[in-house]
């Protein structure tokens, strides 16, 4: 429980937001097991895909496996309780921090965490399942698509995690609530991935990334408006 450092940087909304984000990272790194578990899950999933599909996976398999691994790694990342969710911590934070800052900090934290996870997944994929379908520029475009998808997923999953934690429903609830809602994101992402792997130029298929950005903005805005109702008792 890290109570002491909060009082220092709480003067303005921006500094509170930055502090909360940094705090979330500190908590995450403090529990080394959690982080290691995430990375291990991602790499083990990629390795399993390699065992199943082999290093000669065709375009369809490569695309679908990449997005499936990303999706489930993201769900694994959010299926953890907040270390600050004990009653005293919440009572303290409610007075000091505005809920909007909290949820934006959570979304930022998850976006950064999932971005890092995306890098690991992408590199592992190239390593195990080969990069014969992607030349340099395509690889970059695909990576960019994965990053946009992880941001969209983070903005939705932060809110779903908050909902599930408040409902005391366990992490099965995150999957039940989150998976149907995240399907539009996956639909767009897989369509973008297939386009890139099939050689369509980035300019022609970049509108998908625009959709993902819109979805991220939409989910983030909904979270910003609705989180205060979860925050206050």
């Amino acid at each position: 429980m890290d109570r002491g450092n909060h009082s220092a940087a709480l003067s303005s909304a921006w500094s509170r937001y930055v502090h909360l984000t940094r705090h979330a990272f500190k908590m995450e790194f403090r529990q080394k097991n959690g982080l290691a578990g995430l990375v291990l899950f991602a790499i083990a999933s990629v390795y399993t895909c390699y065992q199943v599909a082999g290093s000669r996976a065709d375009v369809d398999a490569w695309n679908s496996l990449a997005w499936v691994v990303l999706l489930f790694s993201a769900f694994n990342a959010v299926s953890k309780p907040w270390p600050e969710d004990s009653a005293e911590m919440r009572a303290y934070l409610v007075h000091v921090v505005k809920p909007q800052e909290w949820i934006l900090a959570r979304i930022t934290f998850f976006s950064l965490l999932l971005s890092a996870l995306t890098c690991i997944v992408f590199v592992a994929f190239i390593l195990f399942l080969g990069s014969e379908h992607l030349n340099g520029k395509q690889g970059l475009s695909f990576f960019l698509g994965m990053q946009c998808t992880s941001i969209a997923m983070a903005s939705l999953l932060a809110m779903i995690q908050a909902l599930a934690i408040r409902a005391n429903g366990g992490f099965g609830l995150i999957a039940v609530l989150g998976l149907p809602l995240i399907i539009p994101v996956i639909l767009i992402a897989t369509r973008y991935g297939m386009d890139i792997l099939n050689g369509i130029s980035f300019a022609d298929t970049a509108h998908n990334l625009l959709f993902l950005a819109t979805l991220s903005g939409g989910f983030g805005a909904l979270g910003y408006i609705l989180f205060p109702y979860l925050w206050n008792d």
Binding site: M159, L163, Y229
Partner: protein, 347 residues
């Protein structure tokens, strides 16, 4: 009694719609022009002419067999074909005597008949073994198109044929679900705005449950329709996937409600989730389908219908069907609401 009129009205409308669905006949159309691999020798010509079968749907050729006229058209080139014999109302033998050099391989088939009017079969005739010279221009025929002399009927759509009758059942399910989820959306917003009462939360729950029933019915009617027109119970189509995911999302709403015991907390959390759910419904069923091509009628622009789907005969049954099913859906929601409120009172 006066305030119950709408409930009876809903069922009255659907009664009218069902009568229309099972009584109104289908309009005529052309199914195919198929080669019999045989030839026909007429008295005037020395060479044998390739013989084709022309099959119509709900046509009435036997009512004026001598007045059936068959024409093939490619852009502005029109060639009259010879009707060898009219076999019955829907079958005829046609002699296709076209020269060896043609301006195109693919020809539309048109017929004129006093009862059936002018019928069109696009790309009905495809000749792969001819010499194609696109600059050729065959003598242009004058062709007048005229309307059918038939009683009230539903329009012919290729591939859909009789199953167009399902339109009155399948599509209104989705309209009704949309209206009911909209009622739940408004109720959820109001629930978040108040702090004490559960009134709006009860409304949201009852409405979502009724809407979910219509969503599932919509999926079932759509699946049966797909089996008869596309040959499969399910296809990978964005609108089908969107509909299924919407039903899953609202099922998640029910799961969420069941996992919280504290009533005010449940009201608040499910209201928050309901807002997400409705936004996803809008995205999946109204936004995404406009951007994709698919088998589902009315793509690339309007996820509902193109204008050709709703000719006036269909409109006469479709609009009442939509209103009728929406009224029935709202009545179901009201009864559900009464029931849950009574349950709470009894506890």
């Amino acid at each position: 009694m006066a305030h119950n009129v709408w409930k009876i009205g809903g069922f009255a409308l659907i009664t009218y719609v069902l009568v229309m669905v099972f009584v109104v006949p289908m309009g005529p159309g052309l199914l195919e022009l198929r080669s019999t691999e045989g030839t026909f020798i007429s008295e005037e010509m020395e060479r044998p002419i390739p013989e084709y079968f022309l099959t119509g749907f709900a046509t009435h050729w036997n009512e004026a067999p001598d007045q059936l006229s068959v024409i093939v058209r490619s852009q502005s080139n029109l060639v009259q074909l010879q009707v060898i014999e009219v076999l019955d109302d829907t079958h005829a033998r046609i002699g296709v005597s076209l020269p060896y050099s043609l301006p195109s391989k693919s020809w539309d088939v048109l017929i004129n008949h006093p009862v059936d009017g002018t019928l069109l079969l696009e790309n009905g005739l495809f000749l792969s073994d001819r010499f194609i010279d696109e600059s050729l221009a065959l003598p242009a025929l004058a062709i007048e198109e005229f309307a059918a002399d038939l009683p009230f009927h539903f329009p012919y759509q290729p591939r859909i044929l009789e199953t167009i009758r399902n339109l009155m059942l399948h599509v209104p399910m989705w309209f009704t679900m949309f209206v009911l989820m909209g009622i739940a959306f408004v109720a959820s917003i109001k629930q978040l705005a108040t702090s004490r009462s559960m009134v709006e939360d009860e409304k949201a729950e009852a409405s979502v449950k009724a809407g979910l029933l219509f969503g599932i019915l919509g999926l079932i009617t759509g699946s049966v329709w797909a089996r008869f027109t596309w040959g499969a119970w399910w296809v990978d189509d964005p609108q089908l996937n969107g509909a299924l995911v919407t039903v899953l999302v609202y099922s998640g709403y029910i799961v969420l409600r069941n996992s919280i015991d504290n009533a005010p907390l449940r009201a608040r959390l499910s209201a928050v989730y309901n807002l997400f759910a409705f936004i996803i419904l809008i995205i999946l069923l109204m936004v995404l389908p406009r951007f994709t091509e698919s088998l589902h009628p009315g793509k690339g622009g309007n996820p509902g219908f193109n204008s050709y789907d709703l000719d006036s005969a269909l409109r006469a049954a479709f609009y009442p069907a939509v209103i009728g099913w929406i009224l029935i859906g709202i009545w179901m929601y009201r009864i559900n609401l009464r029931f849950t409120r009574l349950n709470k009172l009894l506890k």
